[in-house]
Symmetry: C2
């Protein structure tokens, strides 16, 4: 039949040549001039080198725990077919979490921001298998993982299984941190998983429907339509802004009498909301929210939540007060997952918030175990810990003093191994490390500077103050995943030809360059088509233009062309038809 | 800012002039040549006449229970602003239920087939209010409805309320009929609500994920991947076909080793599936399913379902057997909702399946209460019950005999009041009712036929055999809703100038013409882009062309331009990217 032939052909074309669908999407997208930002996938210019190992050799088994930003980024970038990869995660999909606040109000649909992991890996040449299960115990000593599949299983007794590994990549992320505040788990909504966002969406509509019932008085309506958001970080702020837009752009038309009863309160224990951003952004956001009628209460810590009320304590005067609410969303910082807590106790890292790794993302004290994303922090090496080793390594002629020439030979290695050095120089507006040495001997010509160990120590004594932990963001996790995959891809090659910096305490070089985070900027959508953007180099942009930058970046950063098309369609649809308020 | 200005302008244009968005959608849609079928909304050509009543007069209050096909169709068509309408339903949206089987496999998204009721009514000139609540008791004597709002309500003690009415429209639909088969409620999925479809979708993916776990043997995999569908009606058949396509077009790529273990069984107690369709369709469907590897077991009644097994009894030989399953979907006929059962007991209609109404959709024995859709059946009046009254009304000269001339004067009224007469004539291939009378007196010239009461009775004695109950379909419900709304719109006018047929038992005429169902045809999608269509006049079409007709009709029948655009987008997306298999 002609129609069928035509259509199955078109359909096949799309399946076989994804570039056509790209073209289609690009055409669609560029109609709205959305693509201002190219797809900036993590490529480091180094071509991956396929393993030359005999295929008959037993493949090394890599187990990846988690399918969030870090895990997925690792899977997308692993290319060496000499590995056999097994992925274990309770979710069979990757979720584009920065759009979760948009899902809460239906600006974007939940399905538009998720992509099945099996879809992401199925065309790779690497053997990757996925299991929907949760790992509940890591036994690093015997290289075993204890896993169980999801709950609703009607084949009892076969839920649990054990997995062996040669390399383990832990990327399980973090969980919500309630700071043990009573009543939070029972009464608050979180905003970490896709299901959370869907639940919030239903609850918002639920509040409006309940407030429409004929038997209520004004007081009841006010209580039900009071939305409290705890936590003034980017997620909480974005949710409050989305909710405000949803109410004022869409719900107000459908629930005409209720607008006057709606109140949104944003509670933040610190002095300002968005405190990780530039002060200009903080001020702008606070003022915009004030104009919008969102009640921003800074310096106000939540101490208890019951099923009807939320109790806060003013940080200034210790005053305690309570307010009734209809819905509370809790979005304050991240806590440690039980599996990570248990594992940290095993390997002597108890009482930490996250797994400590070195700069190569290897878990300290464990062989072949890597940790990345929100469940890990990089324990940066201090210059002062290694200062004697650095000095003796640099002092090639063992003269007991270091000349500039000797020093210059190891400068690059020092800067690579200890990134805080570079940051310090930048902060002090010095051109290079020689200026630092010179500091102590200003009267001497550069070439003839010579330092003994004590002088060297004092010159570098302040450098470690520049050390900073990386933020727990999607950006960091994604870069770590890509970095680790590239290390795995080049494992054999770098074993032979190490490319990392000098080992100051040992001999030879490190196999790989250490992980370096490249900050690409951060967005804080503030509602009403206005977004604050803080880009590298302290470039701050606030308003509609950064909203368009936000659209472009978020569209380009989608993991697949499918989700990209869906997200763009959702935005378009929202502009045309508004957000849907069906309670499903 | 230029971009913003441009965009807010465009956005405003769309909001203010919905016709522009229609244009846009039409352009989009016609690109795929989908609109072959015009938007056939129920209009009967009669302009609605606005009430001339003084606005100060108290408005008559109409309460509508339910927001399914019947209720929504009533709301869309009610135009007389002299009513005050209150809608009470546990769902704040209308769902396009014929697409539910598509939602189970993600061919269409759940949100694409729902439209908030508030959205559908907000631009009407009639005062319509909506309450998300469930009516649990009708007190027709005192004209009171007892309602309660949904469960998750944190303002206890204010859940319940009472609503008065002047007119009551009952359109609560039906519930699933388990025929009291043990274990069905606990272990089977249904396919009646949007939530059911979403749950089925999650469970299908769940079965595939569970079957992928490393510890299972082949037997386990076969058990988990056995999908049983109970009921060979259009819904069950369409679901089985959708599932087969989902597995073979999408899942097989993502779960490569599992295809051989998948089995779909369709169980039907009758001799054939799709038994309300033409025999050609039934045969085609059974053969297609056989080719596809779907196991069609007719004459097999389910007698028990446990958490692991489903037990059936062969109708032929009474043989009982059991088979393990991974998921069972139960889709066999409809049952009565508790509120309707209770109401029927009150008004002396106990032991019926649905509320009995007359041809004007008025509940028998209740003033001002109307019932339509799946919760009601029209109790058609038999000709033989009224035969004496008809005779004496027609016999104007009281001669004791009826001439053809006398009879011809009331023919139209008889045909209108008793639609079975027309059906009978058509069946017997008679041109008009005179042929029927002539039947008993073949030798007499047409003009001189005269019948006495006994001859008249015997001529019409077979007519009532043509009476048929209307099927419980969306089409019937929608037409009933529109019909009732038109009656309400013209209530005052028709009080003065009745337009219905003669009252044979009383004097004067009925206010309105009785409800007449106009069958527009029925579809049975069979998977693989093939659909069977049975159109009026026994026109049967099977294959790809009717699939395209199906697309066109279902796109055109959407209740709003928003859902129309979404459904078409979903289909397009499915062709390009396939169905999503994320387990959310």
């Amino acid at each position: 039949m002609p129609t069928q032939t035509f259509f199955s052909r078109v359909s096949r074309v799309f399946h076989d040549h994804p570039s056509v669908s790209r073209l289609l999407v690009l055409v669609t997208v560029s109609g709205g001039s959305l693509v201002a930002y190219a797809d900036a996938g993590p490529t480091n210019g180094v071509p991956s080198i396929a393993s030359t190992a005999n295929v008959d050799e037993k493949k090394k088994k890599v187990v990846v725990l988690g399918t969030g930003w870090a895990g997925t980024s690792f899977l997308k970038n692993i290319k060496d077919p000499s590995y056999e990869v097994q992925v274990i995660s309770p979710r069979n999909y990757f979720a584009f979490t920065p759009l979760l606040p948009s899902v809460t109000c239906g600006t974007v649909e939940a399905r538009s921001i998720v992509e099945p992991i099996r879809n992401l890996v199925r065309k790779k040449r690497v053997d990757i298998r996925f299991n929907e299960a949760e790992c509940y115990k890591i036994d690093a000593e015997n290289r075993k993982l204890y896993c169980r599949s999801n709950e609703n299983n009607n084949l009892n007794g076969k839920k649990e299984f054990v997995v062996d590994y040669d390399y383990l990549v832990i990327a399980v992320g973090a969980q919500v941190n309630t700071f043990n505040t009573p009543g939070v788990v029972e009464n608050c909504h979180f905003l970490k998983e896709v299901e959370d966002a869907q639940r919030i969406r239903r609850t918002v509509i639920d509040c409006f429907e309940r407030a429409s019932l004929p038997t209520l008085d004004e007081e009841d309506r006010k209580k039900i339509l009071h939305f409290a958001v705890v936590g003034g970080g980017p997620t909480g702020v974005e949710f409050a802004a989305e909710l405000h837009d949803f109410v004022n752009e869409d719900l107000v038309k459908l629930y005409p009498g209720l607008q006057e009863f709606v109140k949104i309160t944003l509670l933040e224990a610190g002095d300002h909301i968005l405190n990780m951003f530039d002060k200009r952004i903080t001020t702008f956001a606070e003022e915009k929210f004030r104009r919008d009628g969102i009640d921003v209460k800074t310096g106000s810590m939540v101490i208890k939540v019951t099923d009807k009320e939320i109790s806060t304590k003013e940080m200034k005067n210790g005053e305690i007060s309570s307010m009734p609410y209809g819905m509370t969303v809790w979005s304050t910082g991240i806590g440690t997952r039980p599996i990570i807590k248990d594992f940290m106790t095993q390997i002597g890292q108890a009482n930490r918030r996250a797994l400590a790794t070195d700069e190569w993302l290897r878990v300290e004290g464990c062989d072949n175990v890597y940790a990345l994303g929100d469940c890990a922090t990089i324990n940066q090496r201090k210059v002062m810990e290694d200062i004697s080793a650095i000095f003796s390594k640099a002092d090639k002629d063992n003269s007991g003093t270091l000349t500039v020439k000797e020093f210059q030979e190891v400068i690059d290695d020092i800067c690579e191994r200890y990134p805080q050095v570079e940051l310090y120089l930048k902060n002090k507006q010095m051109h290079n490390i020689v200026d630092l040495l010179k500091g102590s001997k200003e009267d001497v010509a550069k070439e003839s500077i010579e330092l003994d160990i004590e002088e060297f120590k004092s010159a570098l004594s302040q450098v470690d103050s520049q050390m900073k932990n990386l933020p727990a963001t999607a950006q960091v996790a994604a870069q770590q995943g890509a970095y680790l995959a590239h290390c795995f891809n080049r494992m054999e090659e770098c074993e032979k030809y190490p490319e990392g910096p000098l080992r100051f305490r040992g001999s030879g070089r490190h196999r790989f360059r250490p992980f370096r985070y490249k900050h690409l900027g951060q967005f804080a959508p503030l509602g009403g088509e206005q977004t604050a953007a803080q880009l590298p180099g302290d470039w701050v942009s606030i308003g509609h233009s950064s909203q368009w930058l936000w659209y472009s970046v978020y569209a380009s950063k989608q993991v697949s062309w499918r989700t990209r098309a869906l997200v763009v369609t959702d935005w378009t649809r929202r502009f045309i038809f508004g957000r849907d308020s069906s309670r499903i």
